[in-house]
């Protein structure tokens, strides 16, 4: 074959070889077919570990129990027993872990009316559990006041403060 035909062919072959070499360097060693097969698991295996290392923020009520046993026990006797501490007090881990006890930032408690109304705005939907929760009309029931001014969220059935 003539030289002017072969030369571009060599160039193309050279480019392909370069791409293949670059691929060896760029593609991580653990990139390949996982347990779910090529169709569903063609990926970088170490990414699973990356996700497992993601920081946990919501610790659950058992985490609060040791220091705040009074509140932990009190709320257990009430209809609010099912509500996690962190649902109102905010995620515990950011504030508590990695800080010595005297330097801990305070948790931000959501005392807004809107927060209580998540459940206590009356929505009498016939096929929903929301029907059974007692509600108030926020426009008529002491508007502009925080619920916790009168009601104790840890002991909502004990009467007003």
């Amino acid at each position: 074959m003539k030289n002017h035909v072969l030369r571009p062919l060599f160039v193309v072959i050279g480019i392909v070889v370069l791409i293949l070499l670059a691929r060896i360097v760029i593609v991580p060693k653990d990139f390949g077919i996982g347990e779910r097969g090529y169709m569903y698991a063609w990926y970088r295996k170490s990414n699973e570990e990356d996700w497992k290392k993601f920081k946990v923020k919501y610790m659950g009520r058992e985490y609060c129990k040791d220091c705040h046993s009074d509140k932990y026990d009190a709320i257990k006797q009430t209809p609010h027993a099912a509500i996690q501490c962190e649902n109102c007090h905010g995620p515990a881990n950011d504030a508590v872990s990695e800080h010595p006890s005297d330097q801990r930032p305070k948790l931000v408690i959501d005392k807004s009316r809107a927060h209580c109304l998540r459940c206590h705005f009356p929505l009498p939907y016939p096929t929903s559990a929301r029907l059974k929760i007692r509600g108030i009309d926020p426009d008529k029931h002491n508007p502009d006041m925080e619920c916790s001014t009168c009601h104790n969220p840890h002991q909502p059935m004990e009467g007003l403060k």
């Binding site: 497992k52 993601f54 919501y58 995620p91």
Partner: protein, 262 residues
Amino acid sequence: MISRRKFLKNTALGIAGMGISLSALEIIDPRKLFAEVAADKAAVRWAFLVDTYKCVGCGLCVKACKEENEVPYDANVTRTWVERYVLTKTGKLYADTPKGARDGFTTDKIDLNADGIKDISKEGIEKAFFVPKLCNQCDNPPCVQVCPVGATYQAADGVVLVDRKWCIGCGYCIMGCPYGVRFFHPVHHTAEKCNFCYHRITKGLKSACVQACPFGARQIGNIKDPNDPVTVAIRTQRVGVLKSEYGTKPQVYYIGLDEEVR
């Protein structure tokens, strides 16, 4: 000129040839085969159970999810959300999910976006309920199959994850998901989705939304463990899945799923 013998012979061969299915001619990749066998032996396959009767639409699950998974709180994107469905006595259906129900449903007015706010009287409601939504971690995930770079994949335990380092942000998976659970992460600029709180379930904790739900409307479990409460419920109760007609084999099961839910 074709002889009768040749004609019959060719006809018989042709029919026999048509009888062979295409799969019989496929060259088997041993790696693929081993992978399929290994997958069957996995001891864990995460599945989710939602009881729509128990959901009251408080949205504490959405709040917990956004904070746990560092999804920007005020951006209008979320890994999980709660939908409200209201069917009127006149046969009309209204559904809304303001801010993904991050702040719950604190009004009886229905937010129809561009169509304005709809006020339905108590007496006009035939049935109404809340439906939490999240990634279905499908057994046949279309989002994984459309990824051109191998950035999204299914782990052996069934959870579909996104590799943020590998994602090029093409958005095919976001278009490919029939449930609309994927979105762009406003900070990382990569595809983002619910992963059942992979960092929690692999440590023995419950997903953040499951833990935050005061009513037990959300549960997560291992469907390969026959004694897991979630497995027992799926096996013994009347459960449904979303959009089964798509063939995605979703693994989020719903108790009390209504025909109107999409």
